[in-house]
Every structure is written in structure tokens, then in C-alpha cells.
């Protein structure tokens, strides 16, 4: 029975090697790569399903189109009709994060989005792309983004400093939000679960009275499911907000 739980709650986020070429970085197969492959395989199949469900509505097509429609509505409301150019990116991001988060909710699975390095590097490169988009579109006028409209002149240097800081901190905070959410959610679930396990394992009395807090654990798991979907949505929403900033400047 002791084999059911782990030593440290952080052990669940450990990278496990399958195949090592040189070091962890070059062409090595880990836990992460396997799950990444699974998610991309699902995304590819989802794309083929989405392409084939023209008029023959079955439940899968409806489920896919519901996601598609949600994202389309979000992108259109954030960026206007021009945002349609960036809709494929948003939809891919959303699908990827949704699937990664939901796969990580399965028992004994691996939480892909709790790995800080890949997620933060993803958000960093997205932010870099958005900045490059703004610079390409507006040339040097892009920097007017850092001066809010109607600022009195003496305040401008301070405000520019603050806006620059807030703009560049977006790169980190976007990925950190998702990652920290998933990380702490999974830690919380594991700790509550092992607590319940210890309580119900202790005695008959504990078994009986453990039923009530068990409901709390179930509610926690449901909240985590909701959060895993919501965080993917929030990520895309904030990112399209940033993209709107660099497309339209205010």
C-alpha cells in the first residue's frame, strides 16, 4: 500500500529520461517529449476531423466547432476583423494548452504546463513576436505605446519607464500565470489526496469520517478541471489583447 504515494509532492514534475544522446538538451527523449508527441498527435487528428465535418454533423464535429467558435468570438471581439489573420495562431495555442492541461489532469499523468522553462520560453517568444509585429507595422511610432494619451509632459519619463517595465514583464507573467496555476493546482491535489489517503488508511474510524472531506477533494479536482480550461482561455485572451496593442497602438 505504501507504493501508492510519493516521497515529495514535487516528484510528479520530474523529467524522466527514456533515451539520452548527450545531455538533457540534445535529441533526448523524456517524459515531456512523449507527452508533447501525444498532444500533437491528438491535435493533428483533431485537425483532420475538423476538416471533414463539413455538413455531416456528428458529436465530434460539434465539439470541435464549439471550441473553434469560442476562439473565433474571442479573437474577433479583441482584435476586430483584422484579427482573423492571427486566428490560426490563437486557435493552435488554445488547443495545445487545453489539451496539455486536460491530459495532465489524468491520474499518473505528467503535467506538461507545469514545466516552467518551456512555458515561459513559449510566452517569451510570443511576446517577442508581438513586439516585432508592432515594430514592423508602425516602425518607430510603435514606441508611442509607452506614452499613454494625455500625459502631462513632466510625467512622461516616469510613465515611459513604468510602461516599458510593465510591457516587458508581460513576457514572463503570461507563461508564469499558466505554469504556476498548474503547478500549484497539482501540488494541492496531490497533497490533499495523500492526506485523505493517510486519514482513511489509519483506522476504521478514519475511514468512516474521511468520507466527508473526500467530497472536498472531489470539489478541488473539479475546480482544477475548470481552472485548466480557463487558464488556456485566459492565456489566449491576454495574448490577443497584447497583439491588439501592437496592431492598433492603444
Amino acid at each position: 500500500m505504501k507504493k501508492m504515494f510519493m516521497h515529495s509532492p514535487l516528484e510528479q514534475f520530474e523529467m524522466k529520461m527514456l533515451l539520452m544522446m548527450n545531455d538533457m538538451l540534445a535529441l533526448s527523449m523524456t517524459n515531456y517529449v512523449v507527452y508533447l508527441g501525444m498532444v500533437s498527435f491528438m491535435m493533428y487528428n483533431m485537425m483532420t476531423l475538423l476538416n471533414k465535418t463539413n455538413l455531416e454533423w456528428n458529436r465530434w464535429g460539434l465539439a470541435m466547432l464549439a471550441m473553434y467558435d469560442t476562439m473565433l468570438n474571442m479573437v474577433k471581439s479583441q482584435m476586430g476583423n483584422k484579427g482573423g489573420y492571427y486566428f490560426p495562431l490563437m486557435f493552435t495555442l488554445f488547443t495545445f494548452m487545453l489539451m496539455a492541461n486536460l491530459v495532465s489532469m489524468m491520474p499518473y499523468s505528467f503535467a506538461m504546463s507545469a514545466q516552467l522553462v518551456p512555458v515561459v520560453s513559449l510566452s517569451l517568444s510570443l511576446w517577442l513576436g508581438v513586439t516585432m509585429l508592432g515594430l514592423a507595422k508602425h516602425k518607430l511610432v510603435y514606441f508611442s505605446l509607452f506614452v499613454p494619451n494625455g500625459t502631462p509632459l513632466p510625467l512622461v519619463p516616469v510613465l515611459v519607464l513604468m510602461e516599458t517595465l510593465s510591457n516587458s514583464s508581460r513576457a514572463m507573467s503570461l507563461g508564469l500565470r499558466l505554469s504556476a496555476n498548474v503547478l500549484s493546482g497539482h501540488l494541492l491535489m496531490l497533497m490533499l489526496g495523500s492526506l485523505m489517503f493517510n486519514l482513511m488508511n489509519s483506522s476504521m474510524f478514519g475511514m468512516f469520517f474521511g468520507m466527508m472531506p473526500m467530497l472536498g477533494v472531489v470539489a478541488m479536482v473539479m475546480l482544477e478541471f475548470a481552472m485548466s480550461m480557463m487558464q488556456a482561455y485566459v492565456f489566449c485572451m491576454l495574448f490577443s489583447g497584447y497583439m491588439k496593442d501592437s496592431m492598433y497602438l492603444h
Binding site: 505504501k2 507504493k3 510519493m6 516521497h7 516528484e11 520530474e14 524522466k16 517524459n31 476531423l49 455531416e56 456528428n58 458529436r59 465530434w60 464535429g61 491530459v103 489524468m106 491520474p107 499518473y108 499523468s109 505528467f110
Partner: protein, 99 residues
């Protein structure tokens, strides 16, 4: 002038309402016969089941994704797969060493 003359000419000739050929048979009968023979050639009864694909992926798709068979069961299968894979992996790397 000529147009009036032609009009007069056309009003003079009576329309062909009845002729020997048309009185003798129902004009629709021949067309109906063609129609009946066409429909007789069509296959009757329930449609034959679609041929089962040999490729296991396509068979899985036919069983759980296509048409009326669409259901959420692949998600359950996937969860079971993850459970088995994850437990095996976890056992090999961690759980074996903790006693």
C-alpha cells in the same frame, strides 16, 4: 403588314387537339414504363453494411468517430492508456525504490 397577315393565318389553322395516334394510347404510359423499369433496377431492402477497413486506425475511427458512432469513448480509452503508461513509468522510476 406582313405581321398582320401572319397573325391572320395562324388564327385560321385550328389547333391539333385530337389525332388518331393520340386517341389510341395514354401519352404518359411510355414514360411511366421507363420510370418503373428504372426503379425496379435499384437495389431494395436495407443498405448493406460498409466494408470494414483493415487498417486498425481506420477501424477505430469507424467505430468511434464516424457518423452516428461518434462518442466520447476514445477519451476514456485514452485516460486508461495514460493511467497504465503513467503507473508503469512511475513504478519503474520511483515507486520501486521506495519501500
Amino acid at each position: 403588314m406582313s405581321f398582320i397577315a401572319r397573325r391572320q393565318l395562324s388564327t385560321l389553322i385550328p389547333p391539333k387537339i385530337a389525332s388518331v395516334k393520340n386517341i389510341g394510347e395514354n401519352p404518359n404510359a411510355k414514360r411511366m414504363g421507363e420510370l418503373v423499369s428504372f426503379y425496379k433496377k435499384l437495389p431494395t431492402g436495407p443498405a448493406p453494411a460498409a466494408k470494414k477497413p483493415i487498417n486498425p486506425f481506420l477501424r477505430y475511427k469507424a467505430a468511434y468517430f464516424d457518423g452516428n458512432n461518434a462518442s466520447g469513448k476514445p477519451l476514456v480509452h485514452f485516460a486508461a492508456f495514460i493511467l497504465i503508461l503513467g503507473y508503469t513509468w512511475e513504478y519503474q522510476t520511483h515507486l520501486k525504490h521506495h519501500h
